[in-house]
Amino acid sequence: MLLEVKGLQAGYGQIHVLHGLDFIVEEGGVTALLGANGAGKTTTLRAICGMIRTEGDITLRGERITGRATEDIARRGLAHVPDGRGTFMELSVEENFRLGAYVRSDGEVRSDFERMFEWFPRLKQRWRQQAGTLSGGEQQMLAIARALLLRPKLLLLDEPSFGLAPLIVQEIFGIMRRIRDESGVGILLVEQNANLALELADRAYLLETGRIVVSGPAAEIREDESIRRSYLGY
Amino acid sequence: MSASENVAIPATIPQAVPVRRGMPAWQVALVVLGGLVVAIAPAFVLESFPLFQLTMAVIMGLAVLGLNMVTGFNGQISLGHGAFFALGAYATAILMSHLDWSFWATLPVSAAVCGLVGYGIGFPALRLGGLYLALTTFSLAVAVPQILKHKSIEDWTGGVQGLFLVKPDAPAWMPGGLSADQWMYFVAIGVSGVCFLLCWNLIRGRIGRALMATRDHPTAAEAMGMDTATLKTRAFAVSAMVTGIAGSLSAVAVEFVAPDSFSLMVSITLFVGMVVGGVASILGSLFGGLFVLFVPNIAEAISKAAPGVIYGILLIAFLFILPDGFAGLLRRIAARLRGRG
């Protein structure tokens, strides 16, 4: 098992947002975490990578990571593309790439750069440019590339479609499909756009006010009209 | 929600309020009377040097109060209030030694000058805010002695030599033939007492709330229609005035002003007094004054450098352990005693 979450509780200050989540992410493939605004999707990702105070059991390939510092969790192979993307706006694309691979000591960083250029050719053109001057879609691509350069076991993606034009969203999801098929990295995807996410995902969980209400193979959820009507609203 | 929670919460809170509000008139009178006795007694009990020290402690307390008005209550960090202290001291000293004015006549002039300069400095301060204001006022504090020494104003300031002046004598109508030291003490507590009352009155009312709202939630305060810019510049003016009056008092109490008595250390001392006494506390300012006067005296016995080191250590210790200062500590002890009774 890549990621196993048991009895996850988390919140901000006095406010509890998550009330005991149980879920798993399998090796390879995409797991989608769906739900309305305020259901606790972003909070779940923050809890997993140690950005907020958390109770419960989170294990990454059998190793418990609950309560560890964010940087230690990253060093154990968990990459996170947070809401707001988490790129370094003041630094160049090149420097963002270098930072993505900051903790790696293997000799394959350069060849991974090439791989990123294959997936994100636009970033190669912007190589020396300051990240803050990129378009929204390019910044999202940079954020994903930066996260992948960690060579993570698990990649957390928080709403990669947020604030982007539909055409750009199509482009990004196309790239993500390639990444899913070519890289073998496990992805936990949080998305508002359930239709898009379910197309990409193998498995999905549906979150409502801090609890998981539906889980199952993505294809089944997509087909289930009652779930679509009551939770996904399309 | 359980039933016991519902009962427990209201049981503790209302109790504290009636005790404060409902103090009977005779108790208030007793407190005031007791306070007066405590304030007056030292003049007749203490020898002349300790009395002088106490006079200076009260004066420093007043200066700290001035700093507290702008930094504590209004959140504009000043590390240069020594400049206003110096300005007040020099205003009084120049008027007394060059023009033979009486001390009392110099006070309103000194207050007005300091208030005006404070108001003037309040404007650039508006644009700075936070750290930049601290940095600028710090630089002002460093530059003060150099400005005071400058040749172009030497005829008035006495340059490096400074100016000598004489304590006012006790007026003839006072009974019992007070010595100059005793009278100086009464002058200090009288003037300071009036300033403390005025500041207290200002802070507990609408203006005080506006000052603190501007400090804590500037945007919200502005959104509620407060003119934060005017509030801030006026806070600076009042603050400079109070610290300036303290400077005037210190000039006559010490009977001497000179540039090197107004180094960066004065500003830092006031800052230390404010933190140790209690940030945003009227009464805390008085504790601060007592602290900055008596602690260095004790420490100086160890080494010339000791007061500074002890200041520094205590300042950091207070910030870590008691960020609301001595006044906050007393408040908490009082609250606990009330809670128990």
Binding site: R146 | I77, L135, F138, L264, F271, A306
Partner: protein, 290 residues
């Protein structure tokens, strides 16, 4: 005319010192958004440490190196022990801790080493004036040392991955954690570097102004002015600003206000820059969050 040229060159020499201290200030500001009011006192302490090593017979450059290392460690310790516990406290608390540090370090220095003024050696042989009397060996040497330090710092931040990580931690600590950077240590490292740079500045200025516990107080003011001219979050700007202030101060001192008001010149620059252009002449416009 020679007089004028000398004023400019002397200004560049002292400007190098201001540039170093300004750079130290900017480094801490960039990493933590604090202005270290105790920067001057820390540099003075470092210079006294160098002085005791030289007095003990250690060769100058060895003492120099030792001082830089010790200062670095002091800087790291200060961040870990004093700044870390209050990192989420309000600005007033930070300013208070810096003032406390200034008091402790400054007075400790006086306590340990005494308040008498000491002569500090210059490593550059004073074989008489150079370039036709325009510049002394020490002025030339200290400017060179300053430039070497500045270039090293630049190379470190630009080309090493540790330098890059420090910049990342300063710009965006949240994202820095996500790529595995230990942000807390980066801040401590920044403090260490700032203390080391300050130490170099102290050792370079001490032969000129003589060594005593208050040696750096005025210099800190010029460094403030330099850092502000350049924009307080712009390292290169701080360096240029430092040199500019050095020249300006010398010219103003020689031709306009006289030496008695030099500190006031610094004060005027500080107020002028902050009021007219708070982001500095070379800085970026900083927008603040509501």
């Amino acid at each position: 005319m020679d007089g004028f040229a000398h004023q400019i060159i002397a200004g560049i020499a002292t400007g190098g010192i201001y540039a170093s201290v300004a750079l130290a200030l900017v480094m801490i500001y960039q990493a933590t958004h604090h202005v270290n009011f105790a920067q001057g006192e820390m540099a003075t302490l470092s210079t006294f440490i160098a002085w005791s090593m030289v007095e003990a017979g250690i060769p100058y450059w060895l003492a120099f190196l030792g001082t830089v290392v010790v200062s670095f460690i002091i800087g790291v310790l200060v961040e870990r022990l004093l700044m870390r516990p209050v990192q989420n406290a309000p600005v007033l608390t930070h300013v208070g801790v810096f003032i406390g540090l200034l008091l402790i370090v400054g007075n400790m220095t006086g306590w340990i080493f005494g308040y008498t003024t000491k002569v500090f050696p210059s490593p550059f042989a004073s074989s008489g004036p150079l370039m036709g009397g325009l510049v002394s060996a020490h002025e030339l040497g200290s400017t060179a040392v300053t430039l070497v330090v500045l270039i090293l710092v630049f190379l470190f931040f630009r080309y090493t991955s540790l330098g890059l990580a420090m910049r990342a931690a300063a710009y965006n600590p949240r994202s820095a954690r996500l790529v595995g950077i230990r942000v807390g240590w980066m801040l401590a490292l920044g403090w260490g570097l700032a203390a080391a740079i300050g130490a170099v500045a102290g050792m370079m200025v001490a032969p000129v102004v003589f060594l005593d516990p208050t040696m750096m107080t005025g210099i800190l003011l010029y460094a403030f002015a330099g850092a502000l001219i350049g924009g307080i979050d712009n390292p290169l700007g701080a360096v240029i600003g430092g040199f500019a202030v050095g020249v300006l101060e010398n010219l103003a001192g020689a031709y306009v206000v006289g030496t008695e008001l030099k500190l006031t010149v610094a004060l005027a620059i500080i107020i002028g820059v902050l009021v007219v252009r708070p982001s500095g002449l070379l800085g970026r416009v900083v927008t603040s969050r509501v």
